[in-house]
Every structure is written in structure tokens, then in C-alpha cells.
């Protein structure tokens, strides 16, 4: 026969179980208004910092990379190219100006159509030699290394050059250069 204490235990455990079904972590003393108010303040400060970021970017460009000497080199890939790019090296006038090892997220962003500004610097007007080398793994698993060169002609305005690289399975040529 079931004892009184067991009946109480069974009942209380069952009540706990029902409470468990609708249990969710509560915010306790932290009110919803407090959370909402703070969220609005966070949004405001994000806006302030974004404005400062733009102001600082303008200052940096003017101070460090004025338009008459500025050169920017961008890396891109053909959309959907499943080539596993590992690293890229950029040489300008026989001097290594940038080297980069790619994380999975960076590679994914390139494969989706994003363009990475790998180098920004200053050069004089006239002609300069750009050499691009990259390594990676083909979908079949083998190592894949390519390099190509391009003559960068710097004029009075800022110079922007896109370097589009492709893997072994791509129908496009290995490296394509484009002046913007």
C-alpha cells in the first residue's frame, strides 16, 4: 500500500515536472525596460563609433595614402570556384608588399563574390611591376601554385588593381588583372 509520504512525493515531483515543461530562464530582478533601455544606448554608441570610424578612415587616407600616390591591390575569385586558396603573395617592383594566409571564413567570403583589399600603399607616378603568386589545394587534393605579372601604370589619381585568381578546375585563366 502506498504511504502518505510517497503520495506527497509523487505529487510534488509531478508538479515539478509540469513546472519543468514551461520552465525558462528568468531575468529575475532585471526588468524588460532596463534591458530595452540599455539596448537603445548600445545602438546609439554603435552609431557614434561608426561615425568616428568613417571620420578616422578619411583622415588616414588623406594622411597616409594621398590620392596622388595611393595604390590599392584587391584579391578576388570567380564566384563558386571551390579552389582551396591557402596563401597569396604580392610583389611590387621586386619587393614583397603583402603576404596573406587565408582562414576558412575569408576564403568563403571570396568564393561568394567578396573582394579583399590586400594591400594599400604609396607609389610614384609611372610604371611599376606587380607580381602575384598564390598556392592552394585543388579539389582533387593536389598542391596548386601559380604566379603572374602585370604592369601597373600609376597616374595622378589613386590606382586600384583587381587580381582575380582561379583554381585548376576553373574555365577562366589563372590570373586576371583589371584596372578600376
Amino acid at each position: 500500500m502506498q504511504s502518505h509520504a510517497q503520495k506527497i512525493l509523487r505529487y510534488s515531483l509531478y508538479i515539478v515536472f509540469l513546472a519543468f515543461l514551461s520552465f525558462s530562464a528568468g531575468a529575475g530582478d532585471v526588468s524588460r525596460e532596463q534591458i530595452k533601455g540599455l539596448d537603445e544606448q548600445v545602438q546609439d554608441i554603435k552609431k557614434d563609433v561608426l561615425d568616428l570610424s568613417s571620420e578616422l578612415a578619411r583622415l588616414e587616407e588623406k594622411l597616409l595614402f594621398p590620392s596622388n600616390t595611393q595604390v590599392s591591390l584587391f584579391i578576388s575569385m570567380n564566384k563558386g570556384d571551390d579552389f582551396r586558396l591557402d596563401s597569396v603573395q604580392l610583389k611590387l617592383d621586386e619587393k614583397v608588399v603583402a603576404q596573406h594566409l587565408y582562414t576558412f571564413r575569408e576564403l568563403e567570403a571570396l568564393q561568394l563574390g567578396g573582394v579583399q583589399r590586400l594591400y594599400i600603399g604609396n607609389i610614384s607616378t609611372g610604371k611599376h611591376e606587380l607580381v602575384v603568386s598564390y598556392t592552394g589545394k585543388a579539389s582533387a587534393g593536389g598542391e596548386y601554385t601559380r604566379s603572374g605579372s602585370y604592369q601597373v601604370t600609376k597616374d595622378v589619381g589613386p590606382k586600384f588593381v583587381e587580381v582575380k585568381i582561379a583554381g585548376p578546375d576553373s574555365t577562366e585563366q589563372d590570373i586576371k588583372f583589371r584596372d578600376w
Binding site: 512525493l9 594622411l63 573582394v115 583587381e162
Partner: protein, 643 residues
């Protein structure tokens, strides 16, 4: 119907990928590509910052249509709203989209803007404005977001109580692959709200039988089955509840709840041995989980019902040990949180290496400050506050880096000043000389041009005489004057010869006038070329001189202003961050204290149950001993009675 079943009608929405941020067209502007690069890595701060700069520059152009960014303008206007939304800047995102709506745009763009605004309001749980926005959509909805629009509209209708309309929309949407599972679940919830329980049950049952390997849909399937099981538990229909509990995966997110519930429905049918099958599985899982803690009480309870009181007593004793240790652990966690270690652990860099940082928090080393973190993350408010806290920490890092950069910039400026300032006065002096010579030459060229132009109107061949011819003409004129002064010298022969020479000169100049004019014009053009080259050199020199001056002048005030703004913003940010941190700590402490009080309750219950089980076990033991003694006496008596 149970009130719980009806009020837990929270709608679920699928994860929506970067909507308009994805380019629908070929990339026409390299800087837009750079924005996408940041956006695709969920680096929203960089993406918004770049996009703001690009849009600002684009809007400041006199002829923006000539800029390559023009091709992405429409997409960019939406993208900025989307990115701000992902960065949880709802207010600004709303303003960005409203700006598109207020603009003179096509119906298709207006519809897309209205849809985005409605989605934003819906996420902010501002359902009235969400409804108002979605009703701004007129005419045909573009294919690319037609199903998204229908699904959102249905969700809004449910939220404002227009259940029948929502049901109609969701029924029409059934079969849409991208919303598989979500439609069925939300449809069931809409039926429930509309008091159509039978249809709701049927819909959840359909969802609960769906065959898929999509993890998100499988989770929804489990959720649907759990809802139905809970419904039947409330109705007291244990057999039906058991059926739905059994459909839930043992390794899914709802498996602990399912095992616990499945045990209780067996108990309701007095099948304690079968309840033990479910609870024993649960018993060995992660001890911080609420369902597992309850199972620690439920297992000995079932044993006691099976009259295995000794085992029940041992397990109650073990549960008490676990609860005591958990309470100590909770106390340590609360203490650690109060000491500020929790916030530091939340900002652990190891957990932030990819976009699954929430999941990575699971892998943090076990310590008092992080032991219950995954349990806490189940609460939406906590998760949102945590994201805000992490964003603030990232912004603080940016501000610190920028503030550290300013002295470096000042050093660069000072170095440039020291280099250029002594050089510039000499250069300036030379420049002024060249400048005045150039101006003189340009004036001469202009006069020459004027003369040639006048010759086209009024023929004056003598203007095009060569230097020798001009000298000869001057000599003849002088001789004429001399002869007039000394007429005795003017013989006929001399006068004839002078006449003849003058005639020859006139003849030649007149005869060659057209040819000479053409030649003069050609020479003027050649001169223009030379002057153009000079002008280019002059402009290059001016630019270089200007660049040299601008490389160190005009920065002092902007840098000072930036430093002040950065400092003020950082102070403000640190105040907000401290408040946000306090809120997080308070939420965590409240939650842990709640758990602590639950465990204390369990402890009291376990203590009583242990005593009861011990008592029963003892009685059972005594009874057994008495029975054995009685059997022994009876056996002895029988032996004695035997002949």
C-alpha cells in the same frame, strides 16, 4: 485545453541569410565588393563603416550617375538596412529603410522596402507597425521574396490575432521547400490560437512524422512531438503522450525533456519498471541539466514503487550528494560571477574564432564562471545582452587602437614638417621665378594669337615679314628720310633702285601672305603644345608642392577633435558596458539562485524520501528476518513432530 498548450504558441522563424547583401548582379564597383567581403564574414562593423563611407561619398558627387557605385546604389540602400539589422541597430536600420520608402522609387523597390521594414518591426515585436508596413505592399510581389513575404505576413497576422487570415496564407504556402517544417509548426500554432484544436493536433502530428535529414527541420519535428506529448499529458491521456515522446530523437535538443516526460507517462500507467528505462538513460547525462536533476529524484522514486527500497535509499543518498555538490558548484559560480570572472570568460578569444561562438562557449575549460553558460544562453534576453556586451567590447578595442594610433600620426606629421619646412622657402622662390616667366610667355602667345586672328579679318602682309625683310624695309625707309633731307643726293638711278627694292619686298610679302599666315598658324599650334607641356609640369609641381604642404599642415585641429571625440565616446561606452555587464551578471546570478533554490527543495524532498525508503527497507529486512525465523521454528517443530 490546457492554458499552457495555448500560450506556448510562440512562432518560429527560419534563419534568413544575408538577403540583399548578396549581389544579384555582376560586380561593377570594387569597393562594393570589399563591403561584401566583410559582410560575408559577419564582420558587420567593418561592412557598415565601409558602406557608410561609400554612400556618403556617392551622395556628395555632382554627377553620381557617372560613378561606378551608381550600379549598386539601390542594392546598397537595402544592404545598409540589412547590415544594421544584423548588427542589431534596429533604430538606424528602420530609418534607412524608411528613407527608401520616402524616396521616389519603383513599385518593386517600394514593396521590398516595405517588406524589410515589416520584418524589422516584427523582430522588434512591434506587431502593429509590422502590420502597417506589410500592408504598404501593393501590386505584384517580386518572385525573389514572394514566399518570404507570405510567411512574414502570416506571422504578423497571428501576432495581431488575425488567425483565420494567417491560416489561409500558411495553407497556401504549404509545400514551399525553404519553409519546410516552419509552415507546419506555425500553422499548428495558428490553429490553436483560433481554437481549432483538432486541426492543430493533426498538423503537429503531420510535422512529427516528417522524413528529413535537415537538422533544423528535425529539431522542429522534435519540438512538434514534444508539444503534442505535453498536450496529451495535460489531457491525462498517457498512452497518446507516450507515443509522441517516443518519436523524439534521443540525441536531439529536446531529448532530455522527452525522456523525463516519457518516464512520467509510464508512471501514470503504474508501469514503474518501464519508467526506469527512460529515467536511467537520463540519469547519467550532464548533471547541470534540469531534467537530469529531476531524474535523480525520479529513479529512486520508481525503485521504491517497485519495493526495491534498499536501492531507492542508496539512490536518494547519491542524489543528495549530487545536489549538495551542485549547490556548492552553484555557490562557487555565483561567487565567481560576483568577482567579475564571468564577464572575462564571456570575452574569451578562443570561443570567438568563428561564427559559431555561441556553440564554442561549450568548449571553454570547465570553471565556476562558465559551468552553466549554455543553460543561461537558452534565455533570449541573456543571449541578446551577451551579444551587445561582446559588441561593446569589440568597439572598445577599436577605440583603444584608434587612440593609440593618433600619437603615431602626430609623429609622422612632425617628421614631415621637419623635412619639408626648410626646403619649401627655396623651392617657393624658384617657383615664383618660373611662374612669372611662364606668365610672360603665355601673355606673348596670347598677343600673337590676337594678331593672327586680326589678320584673318584685315589683311596686313607686312606683319608677316621676316626679320631680314623687316630690316630691309627699315633701311629703305631710313634712306628715303635721308634723301629727303639731302635732295642733291637723290639721283634718278638711286630712286629707281629704291623703288624697285621696295616693290620686290612688297611683291614677295603680298605673294606669300597666305602661305605665311598658314605657317604662322601652324607655329602658334606648336607653341600651344609646348605651353601645354609647360602647364602640365607646372601643375605637377603645384600638386607636389601642395601635397608636401598638405602632408603636415591642417591636421592639428582635426586630430585634437578626433582625440576628444574618441575619449568621450570611450568613456560613454565603458559606462554602458559596465551597466550591460552588471545586467548580465545579475541575470546569471538570478538564474543560478533559482536553480539553487530548486536543488534545495529537491534536497529536502530527497531527505524525507531517503528516510522513508530506509524505514521501509529496514521493515522489509525485519519482515524477511521474521519470516525466516518463523520458517526455521516451523522447520524445527516439524522435525520434532516427526516420528
Amino acid at each position: 485545453m490546457s492554458s499552457r498548450f495555448t500560450i506556448v504558441a510562440l512562432l518560429v522563424l527560419p534563419f534568413i541569410v544575408h538577403g540583399s547583401v548578396r549581389p544579384h548582379q555582376e560586380l561593377r564597383d570594387i569597393f562594393y565588393g570589399e563591403i561584401l567581403y566583410h559582410a560575408y564574414q559577419d564582420d558587420y562593423f567593418e561592412a557598415i563603416s565601409h558602406l557608410d563611407t561609400e554612400l556618403g561619398q556617392y551622395k556628395a558627387l555632382d554627377e553620381p550617375a557617372l560613378d561606378s557605385f551608381h550600379w549598386h546604389r539601390g542594392q546598397a540602400e537595402f544592404a545598409v538596412g540589412d547590415l544594421e539589422l544584423y548588427y542589431r541597430m534596429h533604430q538606424r536600420a528602420g530609418r534607412a529603410i524608411e528613407a527608401v520608402l520616402a524616396d521616389n522609387v519603383s513599385e518593386s523597390e517600394r514593396n521590398e522596402a516595405a517588406f524589410r521594414l515589416a520584418r524589422l518591426y516584427y523582430r522588434k515585436q512591434d506587431y502593429i507597425n509590422a502590420l502597417h508596413s506589410i500592408e504598404l505592399i501593393k501590386g505584384e510581389v517580386p518572385e525573389k521574396f514572394r514566399s518570404d513575404e507570405t510567411f512574414l505576413r502570416a506571422q504578423i497576422y497571428v501576432s495581431v490575432g488575425k488567425f483565420s487570415d494567417a491560416i489561409k496564407l500558411l495553407k497556401d504556402l504549404k509545400g514551399e521547400k525553404s519553409y519546410r517544417g516552419y509552415i507546419e509548426y506555425n500553422l499548428a500554432m495558428a490553429y490553436l490560437q483560433n481554437a481549432q484544436t483538432d486541426q492543430a493536433v493533426a498538423m503537429l502530428d503531420e510535422l512529427g512524422r516528417v522524413s528529413t535529414d535537415d537538422e533544423a527541420v528535425l529539431a522542429l519535428k522534435d519540438k512538434g512531438n514534444l508539444k503534442l506529448a505535453t498536450y496529451y499529458v495535460d489531457k491525462g491521456d498517457a498512452a497518446s503522450a507516450a507515443k509522441y515522446y517516443s518519436r523524439i530523437r534521443l540525441d536531439g535538443p529536446f531529448s532530455n525533456s522527452a525522456l523525463l516526460g516519457a518516464g512520467w507517462v509510464e508512471v501514470a500507467q503504474d508501469r514503474f519498471d518501464r519508467a526506469l528505462v527512460h529515467w536511467t538513460l537520463l540519469h547519467d547525462r550532464e548533471q547541470t541539466n534540469l531534467a537530469v536533476q529531476e531524474a535523480m529524484m525520479a529513479v529512486p522514486f520508481a525503485y521504491s514503487k517497485l519495493d526495491v527500497h534498499g536501492k531507492a535509499a542508496i539512490m536518494y543518498g547519491r542524489a543528495m550528494d549530487v545536489f549538495a555538490s551542485e549547490i556548492d558548484s552553484l555557490d562557487a559560480s555565483i561567487k565567481s560571477i560576483r568577482e567579475g570572472k564571468f564577464l572575462a570568460a564571456l570575452l574569451d578569444k578562443k570561443a570567438e574564432q568563428d561564427k559559431n561562438w555561441v556553440v564554442n562557449l561549450r568548449q571553454l575549460p570547465d570553471s565556476p564562471e562558465t559551468r552553466y553558460i549554455m543553460e543561461l544562453l537558452a534565455a533570449h534576453d541573456f543571449q541578446e545582452s551577451l551579444k551587445n556586451y561582446k559588441d561593446l567590447a569589440e568597439l572598445d578595442q577599436h577605440l583603444t587602437t584608434w587612440l593609440d594610433s593618433l600619437p603615431v600620426y602626430e609623429d609622422i606629421i612632425e617628421l614631415r614638417r621637419r623635412y619639408y619646412e626648410p626646403l619649401l622657402p627655396k623651392i617657393e622662390k624658384e617657383f615664383k621665378k618660373i611662374d612669372s616667366r611662364m606668365r610672360l610667355r603665355i601673355e606673348q602667345r596670347d598677343r600673337l594669337n590676337e594678331r593672327i586672328q586680326s589678320l584673318l579679318v584685315l589683311r596686313r602682309p607686312e606683319y608677316l615679314a621676316t626679320a631680314d625683310e623687316r630690316a630691309a624695309m627699315d633701311l629703305l625707309a631710313k634712306m628715303k628720310v635721308d634723301l629727303e633731307a639731302n635732295p642733291q643726293l637723290a639721283t634718278e638711278e638711286i630712286l629707281y633702285r629704291m623703288e624697285r627694292l621696295s616693290g620686290v619686298l612688297d611683291w614677295r610679302i603680298n605673294l606669300e601672305f597666305d602661305e605665311r599666315l598658314t605657317e604662322a598658324y601652324r607655329n602658334l599650334k606648336d607653341l600651344d603644345g609646348v605651353i601645354d607641356d609647360l602647364n602640365k609640369q607646372y601643375r605637377a609641381f603645384v600638386r607636389t608642392r601642395q601635397a608636401a604642404t598638405q602632408s603636415y599642415e591642417g591636421y592639428t585641429i582635426p586630430i585634437q577633435r578626433l582625440r576628444t571625440h574618441l575619449n568621450q565616446t570611450q568613456q560613454k561606452l565603458e559606462r554602458i558596458m559596465a551597466r550591460q555587464g552588471k545586467v548580465l551578471e545579475q541575470m546569471a546570478i538570478n538564474e543560478l539562485e533559482l536553480r539553487r533554490s530548486r536543488l534545495e527543495e529537491y534536497q529536502i524532498k530527497a531527505r524525507f524520501a531517503l528516510a522513508e525508503s530506509y524505514d521501509r527497507a529496514t521493515k522489509q529486512q525485519e519482515k524477511k528476518m521474521l519470516e525466516e525465523a518463523a520458517a526455521a521454528v516451523s522447520s524445527v517443530a516439524n522435525e520434532k513432530a516427526a516420528p
